[in-house]
Symmetry: C2
Subunit: 395 residues, 2 copies
């Protein structure tokens, strides 16, 4: 006596959650120090000091209703103005407070944007493998269908040939996620330039704009001095979905935004639909205290140097052992090619060594595993024996 679809979604086993639970149970058996859990993407670097300072400052200086009361549905206007100023200074974005809709985190940003854009059950949203598996759940919630582009396992950029073929009159949007979960790759300016040319041409052909949804929770977690690109500068019909979960290590606080820049086609209509979609799903407003916190922490991040050090340690370590790894340029995931075609079998062998890594089949990229390195550096070092023993089985 419940929705069968929702029941199934709610009871599905999750590879990542199951691995994490297995790790907790194993820790009790073999000791925490002998379990090497690279399964989840929960930031381990603490939130920067500005977060705690901001909360205390806000609590000490403002009245309760001004801290904990409802904000406008789109978010406090001073917060949104602060965001606009920051984006204009940092990326020359030319945006206004009214282009921002504050959300309960990245997932909400996406569900709201998709529900705002999707018009009919025939609508299609293009995903580029490897992709975050919840995208398909969110697309179905909006009433559309996903069209999955096979991974470009040479460069982990975008196969424009495949994209060109995948676009149909039903294509409503394309989701890009750079820095990428799970591949740890970053799209180049060249990739965006070519993608923009293709989408512009195809939008004209199809007679309607194809929106680019840029899902950017890892925007600032980028290495080797690579530039952070402002996607609407390449393709005007872009909607940005952002979250502070990773940049400020606040995943549990559910705070982010949707940015519909004026340059996007029918921007005002899309923005109003974003407001309507959030209303329909019962979001009301983003958590108020953390709206104020992100305003006070603009431009700050958790210590990304820790992730960078982990990245080098893990990448160099695994390469030296003979693992084939995708060079990680952003986020905190190392994408490793399974030494046997079946990454599930490989992950099972790893599990027997208490090494918890995620087969990328559910990310649309069989034959690879995701190794999350938002972990204690000491654990990476301790894990090398197990990684070595694992590789030995293939030599």
């Amino acid at each position: 006596m419940a929705s069968k679809e929702m029941y199934e979604l709610g009871s599905q086993a999750s590879v990542i959650r199951d691995l994490f639970a297995y790790g907790q149970a194993q820790a009790a058996v073999v000791g925490t120090e002998n379990v090497f859990d690279f399964s989840i993407g929960n930031p381990t670097v603490p939130a920067p000091a500005c977060v705690k300072n901001a909360i205390k400052d806000i609590l000490d200086t403002r009245e309760s209703a001004a801290v904990h009361g409802y904000t406008a549905a789109a978010g406090d206007v001073a917060v949104r103005q602060g965001l606009a100023d920051y984006m204009n200074t940092t990326y020359h974005a030319q945006v206004r407070a009214d282009n921002f809709y504050m959300t309960c985190g990245a997932a909400a940003s996406l569900t709201v944007t998709l529900k705002a854009l999707v018009e009919s059950g025939d609508d299609e949203v293009i995903l580029i493998a490897p992709f975050f598996p919840e995208y398909t759940v969110f697309i179905h919630n909006a009433g559309a269908r996903e069209v999955i582009l096979p991974p470009d396992i040479t460069h982990f950029q975008i196969s424009l040939e495949a994209m060109g073929k995948a676009i149909t009159p039903h294509t409503r949007a394309v989701i890009v996620n750079s820095p990428n979960n799970p591949a740890g790759t970053v799209y180049s300016a060249e990739t965006y330039t070519k993608l923009a040319a293709l989408l512009t041409k195809k939008s004209k052909e199809m007679g309607h704009p194809i929106y680019l949804i840029a899902d950017e929770p890892y925007r600032e977690i980028i290495y080797d001095g690579l530039p952070v690109l402002y996607v609407p500068e390449f393709y005007t019909d872009t909607i940005i979905c952002y979250s502070y979960s990773k940049s400020l290590s606040l995943p549990g606080e559910r705070i982010g935004y949707v940015l519909v820049p004026d340059c996007a086609a029918d921007a005002q209509m899309v923005y109003a639909a974003v407001c309507g979609a959030a209303r329909a799903m019962g979001f009301v407003c983003a958590p108020h205290l953390f709206q104020e916190v992100v305003l006070q922490c603009l431009g700050q991040t958790s210590d990304i140097g820790v992730y960078d050090a982990n990245r080098k340690l893990l990448y160099d370590g695994l390469k030296a052992m003979g693992y084939e790894c995708v060079y990680p340029s952003g986020a905190f995931y190392l994408f490793v090619k399974s030494p046997e075609p079946d990454a599930n079998a490989f992950s099972e062998k790893a599990k027997k060594l208490n090494l918890l890594i995620v087969p990328a089949d559910s990310f649309g990229c069989p034959g690879y595993v995701r190794v999350s390195y938002c972990v204690e550096p000491a654990m990476i070092k301790r894990s090398f024996g197990a990684f070595q023993a694992l590789m030995k089985q293939y030599q």
Copy 2:
């Protein structure tokens, strides 16, 4: 190039929001002290001291990841255990941690519950006028249709005769909201007993359970020593939607829960569907810091005595002027009969006196207005001249 339905939802004018905005604008013209804004239900009584103390204590004693990290999707298990213990002690509820799903507030509790229960587009959800207008938006989001019971303007309880007629084979759920927004009334034990008998009989007749969704954000805001009733004690197939927005004056923080007690039909299946629905809509987890805060504030509330004093002041004052008022037993709304049949015309006349009250047409109860008394007591006193002048127009 956006969903027409979402665009319309997002661009609809809101009577309440428009009145509030008008009030802000008028204040600049005639002075804040000469505008009497009874339009919105934003709690004015500050959050109790335990909220601020809990936040500071948590920030000072725990590590960042333990405060701001993801919790389980259903919420931190210690928080849910605390809630279960509290409900068991206070209401002999016999519930477990796993009966609770923490949400981003009352609206999320409802959208998630409705989406979990609705199986097909033929499904119907019964609303009892007067009702919170967003219910219809949430029902549509779940893909069902609302069936509206006319108000019982004699007692503002539930017309069981009307309910009996409204139930069809498609009836999936009934939403009750006591203490009631906008009527300020509270359902009696007698009402629940009779309702339970009817729903039990009709569930049998229809061959499937008809769920009762008890939307209880005002649960503890109740006067004259009236008891707080635990609805599943009357009707087992009850799902409780709760929020701390009003009881702890935290509407902007978006924290509440869905409680699916074991006594409800197919409880485990419904609970799993609640998990699935929250996942589909992108809720991920309820805000973490405030999950911990409500655990530390169990059983505490804002100073309800302030609302009680406002209630008496306003009720006695308006009665003395000749207004016909529904006796307010809970929440912080006084429901007043319009002296002319058209409550919109009445509200317009009030607006000319800078008296901002909400016609109840959108609440499904034409001929009445809602007067929110979660306001400064001094404003109530200052408003009496305007209320008097307004009544004079009808004498």
